[in-house]
């Protein structure tokens, strides 16, 4: 469905909020009828912050950092606050190693109040599904 959308690139500059690492290399966003479609990618570098400890003898991109990639991609796509409010269901299906590239496709819909409902899939460079995520983001952080 998203292939038919016109996707525009979003500048990936400095993040305004605390983050373990810059978890996206590029972000693209498209407007569908009732949702926002966000695509992002991130190449896993052995020298990325925190990865020297995960793990000291084998670099694996931590599952929680895939959640971080999703959060950052959407915050950049919205150009505004987007904080994780609820993880409904997250499954990590294949590990990401150094030099792997993660690609993310997320569909963002308005939920209750200021919440956004997010449904996302992450793939590894070899096409394997690496993660499936359903979560809620809060946009009103007052």
């Amino acid at each position: 469905v998203s292939d038919a959308l016109s996707m525009r690139s979003v500048p990936v500059g400095d993040l305004p909020f605390a983050a373990p690492l810059r978890a996206v290399d590029e972000v693209r966003v498209g407007q569908a009828a009732d949702s926002l479609v966000v695509h992002a990618s991130k190449r896993i570098e052995a020298g990325d912050p925190y990865l020297e400890g995960h793990f000291p003898s084998l670099v694996i991109y931590p599952g929680v950092f895939i959640v971080e990639t999703l959060r950052q991609a959407i915050a950049l796509a919205l150009d505004g606050p987007a904080e994780i409010a609820r993880l409904r269901s997250v499954r990590f299906l294949a590990p990401l190693f150094a030099d792997d590239t993660l690609t993310l496709e997320a569909v963002v819909r308005q939920g209750a109040g200021a919440a956004l409902d997010v449904d996302a899939r992450c793939h590894r460079g070899d096409g394997r599904l690496a993660a499936r995520l359903r979560l809620e983001l809060e946009t009103d952080l007052g």
């Binding site: 400095d14 993040l15 305004p16 909020f17 605390a18 983050a19 373990p20 810059r22 570098e45 052995a46 020298g47 912050p49 925190y50 990865l51 020297e52 400890g53 995960h54 793990f55 000291p56 003898s57 084998l58 670099v59 694996i60 931590p62 599952g63 929680v64 950092f65 959640v67 971080e68 959060r71 606050p81 904080e83 994780i84 409010a85 609820r86 993880l87 409904r88 269901s89 997250v90 499954r91 990590f92 294949a94 590990p95 190693f97 150094a98 030099d99 792997d100 070899d126 952080l141």
Partner: protein, 175 residues
């Protein structure tokens, strides 16, 4: 509360290294049942390195990703405690495989101490299911409905890892 496991003991128990070692102390442990772990947040952690000056208060909130990782590591110690505190062997890794119904109810900031209360829900083979909550003082900042982790030998992770070890690693990418 007494210190049941100090940071040095935790470091020898879990495979995560600095700065991904996100539990400072274990202060209560009922093996196979529940655990209470502490994690002090400080502004000198790497996640605050690039935080711009002059931002809003909530921009300095401790990242939810690290908060969950810290809880997961505490839960891993509970699991290991139930196994007689055998450390995760060097040829094994602990991996988070699923999270369900986890609600973030508050934020934590530098100076706060996270109190991770984890309860063992179920163990099926190498899979462990835990639930619990994360508190700051007496304020609950997260409820963890279910978190599932698995211990896997490094060798079964993927043939791709060993293929990478053979070579093809770009200059400057080594840790």
């Amino acid at each position: 509360l007494s210190i049941l496991l100090d940071h040095a003991a935790i470091r020898s128990l879990l495979p995560q290294g600095h700065p991904m070692s996100l539990v400072d102390r274990i202060v209560a442990l009922d093996p196979g049942v529940s655990i209470l772990g502490l994690k002090a947040i400080t502004g000198s952690e790497p996640c605050y390195r690039r935080l711009p000056a002059g931002g809003r208060r909530e921009h300095a909130a401790y990242p939810v990703s690290l908060m969950l990782e810290s809880f997961g590591q505490t839960a891993a110690i509970l699991w290991l405690g139930g196994m007689g505190s055998a450390p995760v062997r060097d040829d094994h890794v602990l991996m988070l495989v699923a999270v369900r119904d986890c609600t973030i109810e508050g934020r934590a900031f530098p100076g706060d101490v996270l109190r991770h209360v984890a309860r063992l829900d179920q163990v099926v083979g190498d899979n462990v299911f835990v639930e619990g909550e994360i508190l700051v003082d007496d304020r609950r900042v997260a409820t963890i409905g279910s978190m599932m982790a698995v211990m896997r030998p490094r060798t079964v992770l993927s043939e791709r890892a060993s293929a990478q070890d053979v070579g093809n690693r770009p200059e400057g990418s080594a840790p």
